[in-house]
């Protein structure tokens, strides 16, 4: 079938502001939006610019706004979008570098700010540190994050206050705060108790809806918030 793809385009070398362009592409129901973007780029206009790598939802390169929702272009099929017209725009709230490519630097800086690495104070044992399956299960969900930014850039609190650390960083803090092998949960809780930390979350659930990895983000944020309350009590 023929699909109309409406893409928000912007080339800083040519355009003063973003503008929508329309492309007609032939697509099957199982095609993904990424396939359609490739068709435009390879058959119609090589200047169309977007990031992508793995093409099966594991690398986090191609999160973008598709029909008004943040998703991975490689993980959303034409038949799931229903309808003959698909709109595509860059992730909201981050500076656009060109077409669908946004500047990710501030996003990664926030990720780094929560000390996203294991800090165990006891010396490394000869073999593995023991951890029960139950203890591991507590943070299993938040280990799945691929840092695609779909969550953070779907969050109204982030749009209103770009200094908000955002759901993705909290998810990654959660992953270590609840790891039984880690001894520095308190440091991360201090970072997140700050004015740009968890309290900016208004439990709107946009992040959870946007996450291509199905992470229960809002729940993770609530778990971190309770931990902060506990910690400061």
């Amino acid at each position: 079938m023929q699909i109309e793809l409406r893409i928000l385009r912007f080339d800083p070398e040519r355009d003063r502001k973003p503008h929508e362009e329309s492309y007609q592409v032939e697509a099957g129901p199982m095609d993904r939006v990424l396939d359609l973007l490739h068709k435009v780029k390879y058959e119609q206009d090589g200047t169309l610019t977007f990031r992508r790598s793995c093409a099966h939802g594991v690398c986090g390169s191609d999160a973008m706004l598709i029909n008004g929702r943040n998703r991975l272009a490689c993980k959303i099929r034409v038949d799931q979008l229903k309808g003959r017209r698909i709109t595509v725009a860059p992730l909201p709230g981050l500076p656009v570098m060109k077409d669908l490519v946004v500047d990710m630097e501030s996003f990664f800086a926030k990720f780094r700010s929560v000390q996203p690495y294991l800090q165990a104070d006891d010396p490394d044992p000869e073999r593995e540190r023991r951890q029960s399956a139950e203890d591991r299960e507590v943070f299993d969900d938040t280990t799945k994050c691929i840092l695609c930014a779909a969550c953070t850039t779907s969050c109204p609190s982030f749009w209103a206050q770009p200094s908000y650390v955002g759901p993705a960083a909290i998810v990654n803090a959660h992953r270590f705060i609840f790891d039984s092998r880690d001894d520095h949960a308190a440091d991360r809780l201090d970072v997140l108790a700050d004015g740009d930390g968890v309290w900016r979350c208004r439990t709107i659930f946009n992040c959870t809806d946007a996450c291509p990895r199905g992470i229960h983000i809002t729940q993770a944020i609530l778990e971190v918030s309770s931990k902060i309350v506990e910690h400061h009590a």
Partner: protein, 582 residues
């Protein structure tokens, strides 16, 4: 603009990140350059596991792992390297756990282990539980964990810098020169940066994108290998390319061997577990080359599903609980990309181009070597899928690539730490960027020429059809002619995007050139190897021939642009070549 570091690592997959970590921990001024954000590297796509003879589930020994690796590689493995791999697998996996990797756990809280193809107890008696894993996203966890540690240790990253050339002094790299830096294209604005260094490591991954059906990311275009080749270095064992048996039909997305490790069946159209006719002992867990060939045989005999070119992978009998706990991601892929429910339906699969056993030749310390005498290229290192130590020989066992990254990535880092001490900084000037600047400008300057896309697709078709699971002299000659034609057309490629901001059109054109180089060496090495060994299966030469071909091929760029082939002996220490039956 010129920048300088004592050591630079090109590539931020598992191999590059571990090397970078060693450098940072030792306080060496170093940096990682990567064309993707580090967490986008394809190591993150690895699913099934990483083998180490921990013996957490049952008796196991590194010697058994070493033997399996050698036999799995059809005796083309360098046995000293396999020994290093099997021994150091244990310490590197433990070290990863210490770094925080969330492995699945046994009831005692140890690292959980499962079965994987070709990994056996007591030198081939039966499958052994050796693969350490984190659900079916082991690679994701390895990549994340190493990146996290790099943040902790303050590793410097040049994210979205595409390395487009290698620099040497005292002659080209293949002619005795010393590696002295790289030229990198900053994707954001097209600036060409010259970075000089005392040590340069290539960890750029594989080149599966030269095939039509592949498990590899779009970014896997053989950049490091092709650049090394262009500068006169040989590529080793390029004829050995692995086709993984279970890819999603058409798309090639991988469904990990972990599925079979957990007990999944392969079925033909008669519902028969056909592997019983090909590998009665290991069945579905035979090495990948054998399983891929078995699937092709079934299809040829008309026993593909509905007579078509695929068979079934069946996980239904594993039950929902096991599927959800051990194989959540791959079953999700099946739902999303095939629209099938694996709880209730068998999954259509076919072999998918997956892994390069060959690559840039290195020694046990991950130093690049340039000839059959293993002469070291000063200042140049390689590890991971881009390199060939060789621990995989003619066919890699599942999980051994991740082990390779860990063990030889770490060794590369440690060797660079030693080598940069006392070495002087090479004298490199901005002029080093000029040759590649001209090459890139040529794409922009041509008004309307060949389309890179057409060239890439035609290459992928011919490689898939004529240089795939089964090969013949005739098909290979056809492929050679086609690759030559495409190389000629490539000289006339033009791009639509003439700008400097995030110009992926331009960089993809560059990448097609890398694929053409690596494909050219692969075809030449295939034509010359008139035997069948591991993944290289010649229908016109169906037997392994140890008299003439128990040797590694080295493909070098000849003066006329054609590939020149040389051979070097395989290192054999403990295990004499035997027929390979499972």
């Amino acid at each position: 603009m010129i920048r300088e570091h004592d050591a630079i690592v090109v590539g931020a997959g598992g191999a590059g990140l571990w090397a970078a970590l060693e450098l940072a921990k030792a306080g060496v001024d170093s940096a990682v350059l990567t064309k993707l954000y580090p967490t986008r590297s394809h190591t993150g796509a690895a699913q099934g596991g990483v083998c180490a003879a921990l013996g957490n589930q049952e008796e196991d020994h590194w010697e058994w792992h070493m033997f399996d690796t050698i036999k799995g590689g059809d005796y083309l493995v360098d046995q000293d390297a396999a020994e290093v791999l099997a021994r150091e697998a244990i310490e590197t996996v433990i070290e990863l756990e210490h770094m925080g990797l969330p492995f699945n756990r046994t009831p005692e809280g140890k690292i959980d282990q499962r079965r994987f193809g070709g990994h056996t107890r007591n030198y081939g008696e039966g499958p052994v539980m050796r693969a350490c894993f984190a659900a079916d996203r082991t690679g994701h966890m390895i990549l994340q964990t190493l990146y996290q540690q790099c943040i902790k240790h303050g590793v410097k990253f040049y994210d979205e810098y595409h390395v487009v050339d290698l620099i040497s002094e005292g002659g080209d790299l293949g002619a005795g020169g010393r590696a002295s830096g790289v030229v990198a294209y900053r994707i954001a604005d097209g600036e060409l940066a010259v970075i000089r260094a005392k040590a340069v490591m290539l960890a750029t991954g594989g080149f599966g994108r030269m095939f039509r059906v592949t498990s590899n990311a779009w970014s896997l275009t053989g950049d490091g290998a092709a650049l090394a080749y262009r500068h006169g270095l040989p590529l080793e064992d390029m004829e050995f390319y692995q086709f993984h048996p279970t890819g999603i039909v058409g798309l090639g997305i991988l469904l990990s061997e972990a599925a079979r490790g957990e007990g999944a069946y392969l079925l033909n159209k008669d519902g028969q577990r056909f592997m019983e006719r090909y590998a009665p002992k290991l069945m579905e867990l035979a090495p990948r080359d054998m399983v891929s060939r078995a699937i092709y045989q079934e299809i040829r005999a008309g026993r593909g599903i509905d007579g078509k070119d695929y068979v079934y992978l069946d996980v239904r009998h594993l039950g929902r609980k096991k599927i959800d706990e051990k194989l959540p991601d791959i079953t999700d892929f099946v739902r999303v990309y095939q629209g099938i429910e694996p709880y209730t339906d068998p999954i259509p699969i076919q072999p998918t181009a997956h892994y390069a056993m060959g690559g840039i030749p290195t020694n046990l310390n991950s130093q690049v070597t340039r000839d059959a005498a293993n002469t070291v290229v000063p200042g140049l290192y390689a590890a991971g899928e881009a390199a060939c130590v060789s621990v995989h020989g003619a066919n890699r066992l599942g999980t051994n690539s991740l082990v390779d990254l860990l063990v030889f990535g770490r060794r590369a880092g440690r060797q660079m730490v030693l080598d940069v001490k006392g070495a002087d900084m090479p004298a490199v000037t901005e002029a080093a960027a000029e040759p590649v600047r001209a090459e890139l400008e040529a794409f922009r300057a041509r008004p309307k020429g060949e389309r890179k896309e057409a060239i890439r697709t035609e290459l992928a078709d011919v490689m898939m059809d004529d240089v795939g699971v089964y090969r013949t002299g005739e098909a290979l000659e056809r492929a050679r002619a086609k690759v030559d034609e495409l190389r000629d057309r490539y000289t006339r490629v033009s791009v639509d995007d003439k700008g400097t901001t995030f110009n992926t059109d331009l960089l993809e054109a560059r990448e097609v050139g890398y694929l053409l180089d690596t494909a050219q060496t692969m075809v030449a090495a295939c034509i010359n190897r008139k035997e069948s060994r591991g993944a290289h299966s010649r229908e016109d030469f169906p037997e392994r021939d140890d008299v003439n071909f128990l040797s590694h091929s080295l493909a070098t760029k000849g003066a006329d642009g054609a590939v020149a082939l040389d051979y070097k002996p395989v290192t054999i220490t403990k295990f004499q070549p035997k027929p390979r039956v499972y």
